[in-house]
Amino acid sequence: MSAVAAAASATSTGEAVQFWILGTVAVIGALATILMKKAVHSALSLAGTMIILAVFYLANGAYFLGVVQVIVYTGAIMMLFLFVVMLVGVTAADSLKETIKGQRWLAVLCGLGFGILLIAGIGNASLQHFNGLGRANSAGHVEGLAQLIFTRYVFAFEVTGALLITAAVGAMVLTHRERTERAATQRELSERRVREGVQLPPLPAPGVYARHNAVDVPGLLPDGTPSELTVSKTLRARGQVRDVSGEALADLKALERRSAERLGREEASK
């Protein structure tokens, strides 16, 4: 307990070193968040910044909050972000070219003005004197928090509970898609295929060469050209089709040559 109080009220050299190193990293992470072209890189940079913030919480004596920061933010929220990024397309890179006239200048101007004013305000405030958390944590850190949450802030606590539930329901409602028509049956699907006259039988399987999983390799038509139909639409859209037709055609030519040689030899032996 005394160690906790000491950590809360003192600013040791170790903490100073830790602040300057990790603070620099945190700022770099933040800058990377806003400057990375790909959303996934941004998310990872932000996760790093958040972990550093968790360390700072611990350094400031907010142990519970530090742990929560790691679990909730880095563990849950950032993973949610990553999940959505994956859903939207992980490889899509944003263009950082500004399209609104004057927006970037204004943003930089406002940002600089705001930051300078904020820092000037903090410097202006008389905050030199500080107390440390020794007395507040006298009954134990988590116990102290619990006492506050369940006494003075109990209504706010209950209301945030309601807020969370509402948010969960809201997310479900927003992402849920109501089916407005009956799903087509097998029979209806087959009848439609016949009516439209395209691809009556099932799609042909991809070309399978017993070397590796060849789901991205199109099957070849009798003349050796690849058939697009044999590869999944998604792979086609991503341009991830591995065309092996050239190789196959070369194999075919070699086979013909070999067979021609053999036949020629046989004719010659006759």
């Binding site: 609104i100 927006q103 204004l106 943003a107 406002c110 940002g111 003005g113 705001f114 004013l117 904020l118 000037a120 305000g121 202006n124």
Partner: protein
């Protein structure tokens, strides 16, 4: 006896109601009913007069409170009557002359199919006029004031099929509105100053009020009097009002209604006594009108318009006298009464002449009528002698006293006013002699009746055929008898009033009296009046008696031509008021279009333009909005820091 006062008003009012609502079934007896009720009013008035004479001089005021009209805390308007010597004089004059003129109208309007309606209007006028003089407060007086205005409007425009009559009625109505505005403002001022508008409290406390307020009230009352009594500058309607039937001209526009302004001023004497400036203005207005009317009367060839100019001039005398204060009030009223007799008589005589001459009004087409209409000639002649102030007749006494009082005003003002009054007497003698000579003397200048087109434009009571030479004849008894009665009044009233100061003693308790001190003796004034009278008559005789009168009017001098156009009063009104009004409205429209609309449209345009620019900020990009928010936050922080730093 007090309870009879309301009946004075009620009798003619009943007649008006019955006659106007009764419909055609009353056509045959309507005029008798109207005349009877007018006579009843006169009878009641006479009974009250007898009762009043039986009382002491200080006990003669009778009051009758009928009911509270508008009983509100702090604002009491009563239907209440006050009959004192002044009101009594008017009651007798109005109902007496009114009854005579009702009788006269029976004959004069015989051929008019709307005679019943005419009598209804006449009764309405009598009721309103009696209400005016009997009211015991200014608000009720205002009711009567508007009532006579309405009756006047209806009667001037009685022959409404003539556009000129309809226009004249509208003109009279509009000009009267200007004056009425003055009366209503005066009543409002009284209410704010005295907290009431009943005669007794207002007049009793007038002495304790500031002179400025009294002057304001007095000038507003004078404006009202100018409108109703056709005084300069609101005189323009009276000449045109002669478009009405002649009995109307005699009753309303000569004897009674036009004198209401004089009544108002004399009644409000206490207010004017406390406001010397208002009094002086009143006297000046009277003097100017006196000359104005006389000059107009000299130039007119239309007999009724000549008499109208004379009326204006004589009322000018009364207003002048009323403006002199206590030295003149009594004589104003005395001249009013005698004028009521002789001017009504003159108008009735003129009506009689027109009746005999196919409704011809141009005196240049009369001439030599004395042999054909002896009764008319004699009564008209007596009226003529009375108005010019022939010694011994009514006008002599009343006018002489006014001239004397004008000199007695004292100082330069007195001399000027007195001289003007004297000059007016000379001009009166001139134009009245001219009327007399052109109508009854000289050779016959009769013309055939106008043709059919023009005939539609003259009075429909005529019953003559176009192209026919007139056959002058004496009028029926119903017309001559009132003329004879009025002629008696014209001859004897003045002497009866003046000798022994009867009228003065009668009226003094109400109006007060001060004996003025004229700079010259009364005898000198009388002699001077006689002298100018003789000069006026002589000039007229030289111009119209010795020489034949041309049928078509000569071009005349500049003054004559101006006077024929009523001394350019309508032109003045047109240029100053109508043109001015047009320019004002035009410039207001311009201001409205350029300035008001400009501001409105400019605001709209600038808002529109600004919005057009601001909407570019509204580009739909959330990030742009975020920049604004962020910038705003930065500004907030800056403001906070600044406030802390200060």
């Amino acid at each position: 006896m007090e309870n009879l006062i309301a009946l004075l008003v009620a009798a003619p009012l009943l007649g008006a109601a019955v006659l106007l609502c009764g419909g055609r079934r009353l056509d045959r007896a309507g005029h008798w009913l109207g005349t009877l009720l007018a006579a009843a009013s006169f009878g009641i008035g006479a009974a009250l007069f007898a009762d009043m004479l039986g009382r002491g001089a200080d006990d003669r005021t009778m009051r009758q409170h009928l009911y509270s009209w508008i009983p509100v805390e702090g604002f009491q308007a009563d239907i209440a009557f006050q009959l004192d010597q002044l009101s009594m004089t008017f009651v007798l004059l109005i109902s007496g002359v009114g009854t005579l003129i009702h009788v006269y109208s029976i004959g004069y309007m015989e051929h008019d199919e709307r005679r019943r309606r005419f009598f209804g209007y006449l009764n309405l006028f009598l009721a309103a006029m009696l209400l005016l003089v009997l009211a015991d407060n200014y608000l009720l007086l205002y009711v009567g004031w508007e009532g006579v205005g309405l009756a006047s409007y209806l009667l001037i425009g009685f022959w409404q099929h003539k556009p000129s009559a309809a226009t004249a009625a509208k003109k009279a109505f509009l000009v009267n509105r200007v004056g009425d505005m003055g009366l209503s403002i005066a009543i409002m001022l009284m209410f704010t100053t005295f907290g009431t508008f009943a005669f007794r409290p207002v007049l009793a406390s007038a002495g304790e009020t500031s002179e400025g307020m009294l002057t304001a009230i007095g000038l507003m009352l004078l404006l009202a009097a100018c409108g109703k009594s056709a005084q300069v500058p609101l005189q323009s309607w009276l000449g045109d009002a002669m478009e009405g039937p002649t009995p109307v001209s005699a009753l309303i526009h000569a004897a009674t209604m036009v004198t209401a302004g004089v009544y108002l001023i004399v009644r409000s004497g206490a207010i004017f006594n406390g406001a010397p400036d208002a009094q002086l203005v009143t006297a000046i207005v009277g003097a100017v009108t006196l000359l104005f009317g006389a000059v107009v009367g000299c130039a007119k060839d239309d007999i009724k318009k000549a008499l109208a100019g004379s009326t204006m001039s004589q009322i000018g005398y009364m207003v002048l006298a009323a403006g002199l204060g206590p030295i003149g009030y009594v004589f104003a009223i005395m001249h009013l009464v005698t004028h009521g007799f002789f001017k009504a008589g003159l108008f009735l005589g003129a009506g009689s002449v027109m009746h005999g001459m196919n409704d011809e009004v141009d005196m240049r087409k009369y001439g030599g009528l004395r042999r054909y209409m002896p009764v008319t000639f004699v009564t008209f002649g007596l009226g003529y002698l009375a108005i010019i102030g022939f010694p011994g007749l009514s006008g002599f006494f009343s006018k002489d006293r006014i001239i004397e009082a004008a000199f007695a005003k004292g100082g330069t003002e007195g001399w000027i006013l007195g001289s003007v009054a004297l000059l007016g007497a000379a001009i009166t003698a001139f134009y009245m002699t001219r009327v007399m000579l052109m109508t009854f003397f000289g050779e016959k200048r009769w013309q055939p009746a106008p043709d059919a087109d023009a005939a539609a434009d003259v009075e429909p009571s005529a019953g003559h055929r176009p192209g026919e030479m007139p056959h002058p004849h004496e009028s029926p008894k119903s017309m001559t008898v009132p003329m004879i009665v009025l002629a008696f009044g014209s001859v004897f009233a003045g002497g009866f009033f003046a000798i022994g100061d009867r009228f003065l003693n009668w009226l003094e308790p109400v109006t007060g009296y001060e004996h003025g001190h004229p700079p010259v003796s009364a005898l000198t004034v009388t002699l001077a009046t006689m002298a100018v009278l003789a000069v006026g008559v002589a000039i007229a005789w030289a111009m119209y008696g010795r020489r034949p009168v041309p049928v078509t009017a000569p071009r005349g001098s500049l003054l004559t031509r101006a006077a024929r156009r009523d001394l350019l009063q309508d032109d003045f009104n047109h240029v100053v008021l109508v043109r001015g009004g047009e320019h004002l409205t035009r410039s207001l429209v311009y201001v409205d279009h350029s300035l008001v609309d400009g501001v409105v449209n400019g605001t709209a345009a600038s808002v529109g333009g600004l919005s057009g620019r601001l909407r570019k900020l509204q580009n739909g990009y959330a990030r742009s909005y975020a920049v604004s928010m962020f910038g705003g936050t930065a500004i907030l922080i800056a403001a906070t820091l600044l406030m802390r730093a200060v």
